[in-house]
Symmetry: C2
Subunit: 458 residues, 2 copies
């Protein structure tokens, strides 16, 4: 069965547009048609720039391809400024607020030829109060958040690529829930200017795509770094399962998925192990929270001072906790983070990748919460690159994502290893819904796989 | 002779307003009168909000004082958003561009009761192309930059407090040139949201005041941290002169000032020494430049793509250098910085403060350059807190500033030590010009001072 155009990978689309065998306009029209069909249920978009993206697509079609993503559209989380479009921040305060200029990452994507399709739904200020987005495979479940719309839109075939931000677990968690590839780069790898700030020490611009290859292509475009554009899938020599101090929150299906992945990695020739973190890491969840609240109270002070009644009660509570916090508690949390960074350098000296849950389990039922960032906060706090790959479907028929973490600034190595693991684990590129072909598979029992030889690249 | 109202310290003004012995409106009127008199020569302001600040002053006078800076006005560098005022960024691109909301630090200052007096002149995007501001003591000389207007306005008595940003040396250098107290806090201490980004890894919001005490008060207001509001001047036990790899650029008068300061500190009971940095630090000037150019090329990509002809040739050149840079050169510079941070921790384990030049010497003649950041880049790159205190006047009658640096996050200790040193060195609070009483003194020969007992607080 032929892949529908709206499911085409960004790499294939960029190549076809450059080769003249696909018009950007046709791609955009297919995506807009998909959005028209599915948006009433999924509600992934805060704003779709129909006219603007079609105009930009025709303009791209009128000249020779230049740039890695010539004519390929991207969805942007609605806390990131795209010139001329509203930046709503998931808050009534910013309803209709037009951005004057492009964020740094948006401008870089345009430099690579990419188009802006629109703005995707975010939780209020990329914090916790959810937007209306539903899970593409089951609208009774959350798609995760805070980058809810970006994850859902990519998973549902509305756009091949989307951008999010992560301060706790706002990229990795929704990507895991939606069964796609989410990448939280090293702190600072992708420029953050023009993204609404939550906690400056943690805020990281990350990506959503349906494959590791598309992820690397997108990162290359966002950063202007060609070293990300042509990564070779590479077997990791050593992978360690890192349970962490919150392991009790990992649900049984997630534990099983991790065990299966470890068995497959081992069978394919990687040396696998399980590691315990030094005791000081037990304080990192609390330290993350303290730093986040202290900082967001200052970053959102204008809104708190001038339009408090327009903020959710949950956010007001966080801001007030941050304002009331003793400076010594904040400084203590920062100091603990520095110690944890140094200790983690020792841990990571012995392995290529850490493996951890991307989330406690499948996407929870209901839309009142986007789920827990339990298994994401540590890696965000340490600024380490992390990626989630879909592994299998859990008992509710919703995806379970693995999370791999690499050492500081080892983003390129992480993506190269992730490309190899993606092919090894061979999860269907993306679970399908809404009339698309392909039905996702349920979790399989552990397989042995053929050891040694890296799998061929999809 | 009575101190004119426009020269009153922020602390004294806040106390008088709170006590009901001074109206905020009277203070503001005195400052506006000073601006009216001096601005034609100094040109420190991109925008003075006459009506808004008077209205806010009357409003402050109409209710009981609340907050550390109730009724006290602040000048904001024109790369930082103040709601309803233009943010011009020192660029024709942003002429008349109105800010919709307050930057985080602006909102925090309002929370402390402070008023926004207006926006101060900045070099183009806080980089190198100077604005029109002249040195308050000699208009043929630069006031330094890029926070030119903030330094000149505070030095000239137009406003007691002002805010700048430092990516290279944009706070410490102009404060040194203008003979006032400039403070570049630890990276991230003051919230950066709403400040135009240049290089995310370095950008730091810093302060200008005419005393250490006012500096600490301002930092307390900006951060919402009472721990900065009531620091006790404290003698440093150990101070080390750190010449660094660019010592050859330190001019003779600056070297003499450092020697004098070391002699005074020693005579007053501090243990002084001279230290050499490990060889790896020799590469930090180049590493700073690489990181800055790589990052600003991405942060300013929108302006570069859409209005390149409105950028200075110097900035276009930096952006293009940053875009052409090999990712490995950028990553190598980041890695060197990490190594330098670790090495500096060892260096700082043995001392309370480092002493270094704040600038090569006095403010250079001419307005085509704001001077060199030679002696500032390292501390900015390492994210360490640094403060400059005026020491004496050089052969051209312009100020020479000392720079003191403390360990990571030791901002409060740095300010406490600086308060003690300020009283010890007893430089007149600020050199005077434009008809103000007091004439500044020339550099004196080394004095012996009375050892042991910390001087009384001014």
């Amino acid at each position: 069965m032929t892949e529908p155009l709206h499911r085409m990978s960004a790499r294939a689309a960029a190549q076809a547009i450059a080769a003249g065998s696909l018009r950007s306009q046709a791609l955009v029209e297919a995506l807009l048609a998909r959005i028209a069909e599915r948006e009433p249920v999924v509600q992934a978009w805060a704003h779709v720039d129909h006219e603007g993206v079609l105009r930009a697509a025709r303009e791209a079609d009128s000249r020779p391809a230049s740039g890695l993503l010539h004519g390929v559209p991207i969805g942007w989380k609605d806390v990131i400024d795209c010139a001329g479009l509203p930046t709503g921040c998931g808050s009534p305060i910013y309803r209709g607020h037009l951005a004057a200029i492009d964020a740094g990452a948006v401008a870089m994507s345009r430099r690579a030829g990419a188009l802006v399709l629109g703005k995707t739904v975010t939780a209020e200020f990329a914090a916790s109060q959810p937007g209306p987005t539903t899970h593409p495979l089951n609208p009774a479940h959350t798609p995760g958040g805070s980058s809810s719309g970006s994850a859902a839109a990519v998973a549902d075939g509305m756009v091949p690529l989307a951008i999010g931000t992560q301060t706790g677990g706002s990229v990795i968690r929704p990507a895991s829930f939606c069964g796609i590839v989410g990448f939280k780069p090293s702190y600072g790898l992708v420029n953050r200017y023009g993204a609404k700030q939550l906690a400056d020490s943690f805020d990281t611009v990350g990506t959503f795509a349906r494959s590791v290859d598309d992820t690397a292509l997108l990162v290359a475009a966002l950063t202007g770094r060609d070293d990300f554009a042509g990564l070779t899938p590479t077997r990791p020599a050593r992978v360690a399962l890192c349970r962490g101090s919150d392991w009790a929150e990992a649900e049984e299906p997630m534990r099983a998925a991790l065990d299966q992945a470890m068995a497959r990695l081992s069978a394919a020739g990687a040396r696998v192990s399980t590691l315990e973190l030094p005791p000081l890491f037990a304080g990192m969840t609390e330290a993350h929270k303290r730093i986040e609240y202290f900082e967001l109270a200052r970053a959102l002070q204008h809104e708190y001072r001038t339009q408090r009644d327009q903020l959710s009660a949950a956010l007001v509570s966080r801001i007030e906790t941050g304002l009331a916090m003793q400076p010594s508690d904040y400084e203590g949390a920062l100091a603990l983070r520095e110690n944890a960074r140094r200790a983690m350098a020792d841990v990571l000296a012995g392995v290529d990748l850490l493996l951890a849950p991307a989330a406690p389990g499948e996407a929870p039922q209901g839309l009142r919460s986007t789920g827990k960032a339990t298994f994401n906060r540590l890696w965000t706090a340490l600024g380490l690159p992390a990626i989630t790959l879909p592994h299998s479907l859990g008992p509710n028929g919703l995806p379970l994502g693995l999370q791999f973490i690499a050492g500081p600034r080892r983003d390129a190595a992480l993506l190269a290893h992730a490309g190899w693991i993606e092919a090894l684990l061979a999860f269907p590129r993306h679970p399908r819904a809404g009339g698309d072909p392909d039905s996702p598979r349920r979790a399989a029992p552990p397989e042995t796989g053929s050891p040694g030889c890296p799998p061929a690249r999809a």
